[in-house]
């Protein structure tokens, strides 16, 4: 039952947020719902790590390894973003009506995000992914500035274009299953008939969904909306967009891997991933806005995950899962740190910021920690997961892919640090008023809580998380040639 409650709690909170019961009511309902969803989601993930799967309504609402991993990430990032939102709206929004609207949209967005992993019927998953875009577009436009409206328009236009293309892919997938003998249309039903699916139909479905949902993931060259939307939205929303929304679209693409003929799309995946990682690494050298910096880094990391998934072998997909976890926790932290910097500084421009460590030590330290961690410096979580991907690549004998990936990661590391060093060290250009420089207490608390997994996962991997990511990798692994008739 708790599996169903995880998305339903934010949905209830969305309705409650609209009640006009004072300025504090809507944010507190949001935080309470997100915290409860995190507790339930973590509980479900632990149970899946032991029981392999939880079935609520067979074939419709199920939670298996990869779903549980995504649900855990979604609920974690939702909880930190909700807590950060408390301080953010208190500082940023004067009008109580706009606070209520923000909270209602925020809860609807987290509702849709939690829906993606718990649904097992591909067409319903399409709807859930589409809802994550529909419910987040007004959050992207929330500030109603020229930039925010431009970003929101580009965002929804490309999201819907991708969704329409992917929709045909899901219809073709259903057709393929009917040709292979039918059965219930679900991820498991498809896996059961995978060897008999007509290859030309699954390939057509895969390509349509790769283009359609690849737009939502932000693969180059369909990434143009991503830096705009992820920089113009309110910072806690950016944490959700970059941390888990892109990941949930990627999860849907990876769900198709076990249905495809063995070794048919590995090269495609490595190619698409390398192009994304490489192009994004060079694009982030020339940004002028520090939120766009982290947005380009998201494009790069989506590419890395896709390369890892395309490497194949037992370690490839496991590396992709680890990278998914470390990217989600680290990138959401980066955007929260960037949000804190925006609250303190009031500007998004890198060039007009100097000496952040002196103006606001907590913000400066958080930004530096986020930059080091997302760039892949040891001893943080991303370092470990990227290392395991390199190992998988070398074990598979894919030296060229591994070398190109290493170059992209190195360029991105220096790109991120180049910009963040400029902002963090040195003498401040101007000193904000003390009232402005002091972060709201909830924002500070969020930064501390969100930093914990980055630090812990870099040195210690709990056994249950290890079991869960291996289980997730097993549900997404390509069919072994031996299992074919």
């Amino acid at each position: 039952m708790s599996v169903v409650l995880v998305p339903l709690l934010p949905l209830a909170a969305a309705l409650l947020s609209l009640l006009p019961l004072g300025r504090r009511f809507a944010p507190s309902v949001t935080v309470a719902a997100a915290a409860a969803a995190l507790a339930l989601g973590a509980g479900d993930a632990l149970r899946v790590a032991v029981a392999r799967r939880l079935i609520v309504i067979a074939g419709w609402v199920e939670l298996d390894g990869s779903g549980a991993l995504l649900l855990l990430l979604v609920t974690f990032v939702s909880a930190t973003a909700a807590l950060f939102s408390w301080g953010y709206v208190a500082r940023h929004e004067a009008d109580a009506r706009r606070v209520r609207l923000y909270c209602a949209h925020f809860n609807l967005f987290t509702f849709a995000l939690a829906l993606v992993p718990v649904l097992a019927e591909p067409a319903l998953v399409w709807i859930a992914v589409e809802l994550t875009a529909v419910f987040s577009v007004l959050l992207v436009a929330f500030d109603n500035t020229r930039g925010a409206l431009e970003a929101a328009w580009k965002y929804i236009a490309l999201m819907f274009m991708g969704a329409a293309i992917a929709l045909l892919g899901f219809f073709v997938l259903f057709w393929a299953q009917q040709m292979a003998g039918g059965g219930h249309y679900s991820w498991d039903g498809l896996r059961a008939v995978a060897p008999r699916l007509p290859p030309v139909l699954v390939m057509a479905a895969f390509l349509l969904i790769l283009v359609g949902f690849g737009t939502k993931v932000g693969f180059v060259p369909m990434h143009t909306w991503l830096p705009d939307a992820h920089s113009q939205a309110p910072s806690p929303v950016c944490a959700l967009l970059s941390g888990v929304k892109t990941t949930s679209a990627l999860y849907c693409i990876l769900r198709l891997v076990p249905l495809l003929p063995p070794a048919s799309v590995g090269a495609w995946m490595r190619g698409v991933g390398l192009i994304s990682a490489g192009v994004a690494a060079f694009l982030l050298l020339q940004v002028r806005d520090y939120k766009r910096l982290f947005a380009f880094s998201t494009v790069e990391h989506m590419g890395i995950i896709f390369v890892a998934a395309g490497l194949g072998g037992p370690r490839g997909m496991a590396g992709a899962m680890l990278q998914m976890v470390s990217h989600s926790v680290t990138k959401s932290f980066c955007f929260l740190a960037a949000g804190a910097a925006l609250l303190v500084l009031g500007t998004r421009e890198i060039a007009s910021v100097r000496g952040l460590l002196r103006t606001s030590p907590a913000t400066g330290a958080a930004l530096l920690l986020g930059a080091l961690a997302i760039g892949g410096a040891p001893p943080f979580a991303v370092f470990l997961s990227e290392f395991s991907i390199f190992r998988a690549g070398l074990e598979q004998g894919r030296y060229l892919v591994t070398a190109l990936l290493a170059i992209a990661i190195t360029v991105a590391f220096f790109g991120i640090l180049l910009h963040v060093n400029r902002m963090v060290f040195g003498v401040p250009l101007e000193t904000p008023s003390p009232a402005r420089a002091a972060l709201p207490a909830t924002c500070l608390l969020t930064l501390v809580l969100a930093a914990l997994p980055i630090l812990v996962l870099g040195v210690y991997q709990p056994a249950w998380l290890d079991a869960l990511s291996n289980l997730a990798a097993a549900t997404l692994a390509p069919l072994a040639p031996a299992s074919l008739p």
């Binding site: 019927e121 067409a123 319903l124 399409w126 709807i127 589409e130 809802l131 529909v134 577009v137 007004l138 436009a141 109603n144 500035t145 020229r146 930039g147 409206l149 431009e150 970003a151 929101a152 328009w153 580009k154 929804i156 236009a157 819907f160 274009m161 969704a163 329409a164 293309i165 929709l167 045909l168 219809f171 073709v172 259903f174 057709w175 009917q178 040709m179 249309y185 007509p198 030309v200 139909l201 057509a204 830096p227 705009d228 920089s231 113009q232 694009l283 020339q286 940004v287 002028r288 766009r292």
Partner: protein, 229 residues
């Protein structure tokens, strides 16, 4: 079981519907008036529903009849109503003076896309399956590509969005042909999902009209890495 003659009739009618569907999609690329575009979109949705009814009779499945009814209610009645209610009169009566491409070029490109769609669909059609796949799949794929072209050449918010809705209609047009047995709950929820989207895009377009005074989205190009001049 309808006799062979009736099957023949249903298939011919469906082919006619498909031809009209493609024709309307061509119109969407070339028409300049926003009201006209909205009417073409409504016509396209009616043709989609017609095809759903015909295929429902052909495949003996009441699913598609329900899909057709839901399509009529959401896209023919509610969508135009929502857009008309939410948008200012000035937004709706605008004409597009400048397009990215001139109309003959856009139509030629659309023609090329339709031929490409036919070629792309032929290996899938060759697999066999339902009787209507040969009509619905290539035309749906062509509509998908032409809808994308429409969205790419438009600079005004509402016609651009109608191009995107035409893409979704085309996906559905292909979908009812290849997957008539798709679980009903999924198909109906997709229709309502599109309805929420229409509402949200209407609100967004209204916010653009209110706050920045234009709905010409093609002119919004402030967010780049380049230095402002």
């Amino acid at each position: 079981m309808p006799d062979a003659n009736a099957v023949q009739w249903l298939q011919s009618l469906n082919a006619l519907t498909g031809g009209l569907f493609l024709l309307v999609t061509f119109g969407l690329v070339s028409l300049r008036q926003i009201h006209g575009c909205l009417r073409l979109f409504v016509a396209q949705s009616i043709l989609l529903a017609t095809s759903a009814f015909l295929l429902g009779a052909l495949y003996h499945t009441w699913h598609l009849t329900v899909v057709g009814v839901v399509d009529l209610v959401t896209k023919v009645v509610i969508t135009p109503w929502v857009l008309r209610r939410l948008l200012h009169d000035e937004v709706q009566t605008r004409r597009e003076i400048t397009q990215v491409l001139n109309i003959p070029t856009a139509l030629l490109l659309a023609l090329a896309l339709a031929i490409t769609a036919y070629l792309l669909a032929s290996p899938l059609v060759a697999l066999g399956g339902g009787a209507a796949i040969g009509v619905n799949l290539p035309i749906g794929l062509a509509g998908l590509l032409i809808g994308g072209l429409t969205a790419a050449v438009r600079r005004e918010a509402v016609p651009l969005f109608l191009g995107l809705l035409a893409m979704e209609n085309s996906s559905f047009f292909a979908g009812i042909g290849v997957a008539p047995e798709m679980p009903l709950i999924a198909e109906v929820s997709i229709a309502f999902d599109v309805l929420i989207l229409v509402f949200v895009v209407g609100l967004l377009t209204r916010a653009m009209h209110e706050h920045i005074g234009t709905t010409e989205v093609g002119a919004l190009t402030a967010l780049t890495e380049e230095q402002a001049p």
